[in-house]
Symmetry: C2
Amino acid sequence: MNGAESLTRSLVNQGVTVCFANPGTSEMHFVAALDQVQGMRCVLGLFEGVVTAAADGYYRMADKPACTLLHLGPGLGNGLANLHNAKKAGSGIINIVGEHATYHIEHNAPLTSDIEGVARPMSHWVQTCNDSTQIASAGADAVEAARQPPGQIATLVLPADTAWNPGGAIPERRPTPQRASVPGNAVDEVARALRSGRKTALLLGGAAGRETALMWAGRIAAASGADVLCEYSLARLERGAGRVTPKRVPYSVDLAVKMLAAYEQIVLIGSRPPVAFFAYPGKPSLLAAPGCEFVRLAEAHEDIDGALEALVDALGARQTQPLQLATLSRPPPPGPGRDPIEPIGLGQLIAALIPEGAVVVDESVSSGRGFDQPTGQSAPHSWLNIMGGAIGHGLPGAVGAAIGAPDRPVIVLEGDGSGMYTLQALWSMARESLNVKVVIMANRSYNILQGELKNVGVLAPGVNARAMLTLDTPALDWVHLARGMGVPGHRVESLQELAQAMQNALRTPGPVLIEAIM
Amino acid sequence: MNGAESLTRSLVNQGVTVCFANPGTSEMHFVAALDQVQGMRCVLGLFEGVVTAAADGYYRMADKPACTLLHLGPGLGNGLANLHNAKKAGSGIINIVGEHATYHIEHNAPLTSDIEGVARPMSHWVQTCNDSTQIASAGADAVEAARQPPGQIATLVLPADTAWNPGGAIPERRPTPQRASVPGNAVDEVARALRSGRKTALLLGGAAGRETALMWAGRIAAASGADVLCEYSLARLERGAGRVTPKRVPYSVDLAVKMLAAYEQIVLIGSRPPVAFFAYPGKPSLLAAPGCEFVRLAEAHEDIDGALEALVDALGARQTQPLQLATLSRPPPPGPGRDPIEPIGLGQLIAALIPEGAVVVDESVSSGRGFDQPTGQSAPHSWLNIMGGAIGHGLPGAVGAAIGAPDRPVIVLEGDGSGMYTLQALWSMARESLNVKVVIMANRSYNILQGELKNVGVLAPGVNARAMLTLDTPALDWVHLARGMGVPGHRVESLQELAQAMQNALRTPGPVLIEAIM
């Protein structure tokens, strides 16, 4: 058994059963080993940003890490932006990055680079293993690192000769790392704060977006008079009818400051004190009211469910009816005619059509800022946000989500500008026959940046600035782009056409792309 | 004048007149400043890998650096693979990377990352400037760093508040950094080695691929009996009728070892001792014969032309007729019929059709390994190789080459696998109406990797391995992909159709894509 096979056996033995890959020459033995070991599903991405975002989406739905297979420093570099997003999402990923053979590195062949240096900014754990008999063990270490709550980026660099030289023993299956309990006084302190009579928000983040945590939070709110809020972005928020629906802290600094102005204290539950996505001249970085006190219940890596349950008991709220519980209320479909596709109508349409159990991957950027309002009373669904702000997560994130939750339909709400970063993901959707419905919101501009330019005080952008923010010369044609990668595509120009196209798409298995001209 | 405007003025004043950009919120003031200063051409790329490869291609043709405008750590990360290629090419680039405002960084907003950490592996020079009054000066420093021979990657990180706070004085135009003379004894030692009677190769790399250097090398070869070789990859090689045509060291380890076996000594002229692109079990890393002696004339950053001229004089060869001088000899066009498109016929067809003055960007990977043979006697042209081995350079490299050499037609020889990495470049070609003709060699596989799998001893790949190396389910449709980005596309399935399509394309202004099914 060579090193490559020992590594593959080790990964499978540790419960890693999906490999998102874009391999090269230095990984050929690993590719060969994938056929010598049962139990690893291999998914090819035609660009490494697809691979890493898919691993992120997979973790969010499967609650266990996938591995990636990447080619040297540049291959890792191509995956870095979506590793950044995954890191901020608290997603566990094991990156296997090929390196030149140990004795070849000194010769500085063209692909030589400082792989650990590339890995470090976006990894929690980085290791190079130069001994073929140890890579099975290093692989198990990497899995263990990736599974540290809430999930970590572990990057294992493997010189090519560790793949073809003899492998070593396969480590035993290691126990799943458990979330740490919150500090002993945290629950009591929050209970005391909630009884203080001060105007309070419970701010949910991370795993507090899951169904049980939401239900506990709704009971705590009912018992204490607090409001349930959530961060602007969550890796996965369970939403819709029957779930407690937190109010989302807005992206806009002004709106967020306005929303938070009322609160004298904020209880942090898997969340951090709200900060502006960007700084703007004359606007604050911190969004809570001056003097607002933060009381921490649980950090993102801690046992959020346990802490909430203890808090519910401390408040005697186990039988309390939760606050902010959503009931099913679908907006009516658009009436006859040809209404233009704009964010409000689009949000209502999506709210009406989300099927029960759907996974919504939201990279709608500017168009989707208000989608959370109408969709809160849709059929029950999971909502996945882009977490690190590095656009290009949506399409490939949906690839991973669909593989992590194979029985659930996936809807991607994608901007045309952001979709272009990793459009290669469409090919993987077709290749794997994934049940993903892509809605491209084609406003043919970096619309968010046009707003941002106004925010920094440029009201009449000149020729160069306009050229940097428009995508209309030439207009992108997403129907052709999709077809070029084997995904059927349709262009719609009215809400009515969009409703029809989405209904058809949801009835059709496999991927479909709808370009909604806005 | 704010910092952003001061920086733009400074860059223009230092001779930087092209900005390849994919900006975000933290760069909005820089975008606005681009309209307040005359003399900067802005070219938008819809992905950062397009931006950085374009800057590389531009440098190779314009012999001066462009700047890039990139959005924080993830934006830089997306550009990293092509910065790796540019670094290996010796191309000068000034990366302007926006960062959060100085006071905002500590709040760890979603896009926060270690930008310098991301930059360092692929940059020669990295600096963060936190003072708006100093960024004009830091910009001039970055340009100076980028212009250090043969060209360097300079990355300047600028927090957003340095853009909107007041700018400082604009530094004077600095002199162009000159190439260092070779050490005093280098020319004499090479002259002595050439007179030793040992079997000798002159190995050209870097700027030794330019016309004057080639001519000197051909004279030295004629006077000394040495052969003129060149490295497998050159950033820019002047080729075709009237030029001295070096023999290319092959990619294949076996073929390279065979070619180099004859040589007792190799004179390094802007080159390094030849090494295998990758290590393989049982094959050498170093390609020259054991005991072969390396004699250095000039390193890549030194005055290669001057050293060659001095060597010519030392050998009294100024009037000697150069060896390996190419005469025009175009292969005949394919006869009637429908011949399948395969590498040999394709190479001859390209050789026949390259127009005088063309720039050929070669990322043909496996299909193009033999193109150097037939094209050596084509009309005079420049040939640009991918330098760092990180595929995804070709299409965007051509964007930059076309902007750097606006009067010359550009032909891109692109693999279908490699083209997919940065296909967004097609949109920039259409946007800028660039005279680029793209030939996609569609073998619908990672053909090079199928060969590499054999090289590592896997003769019958299994299901997973095959799935990692084929692009045929579904087949990519490059005509649709091109049309989706505003570039007219044509599919051809025979050499005769390809000849017709290329002739039409070369007569048509603006970008055209031809998908050659192989």
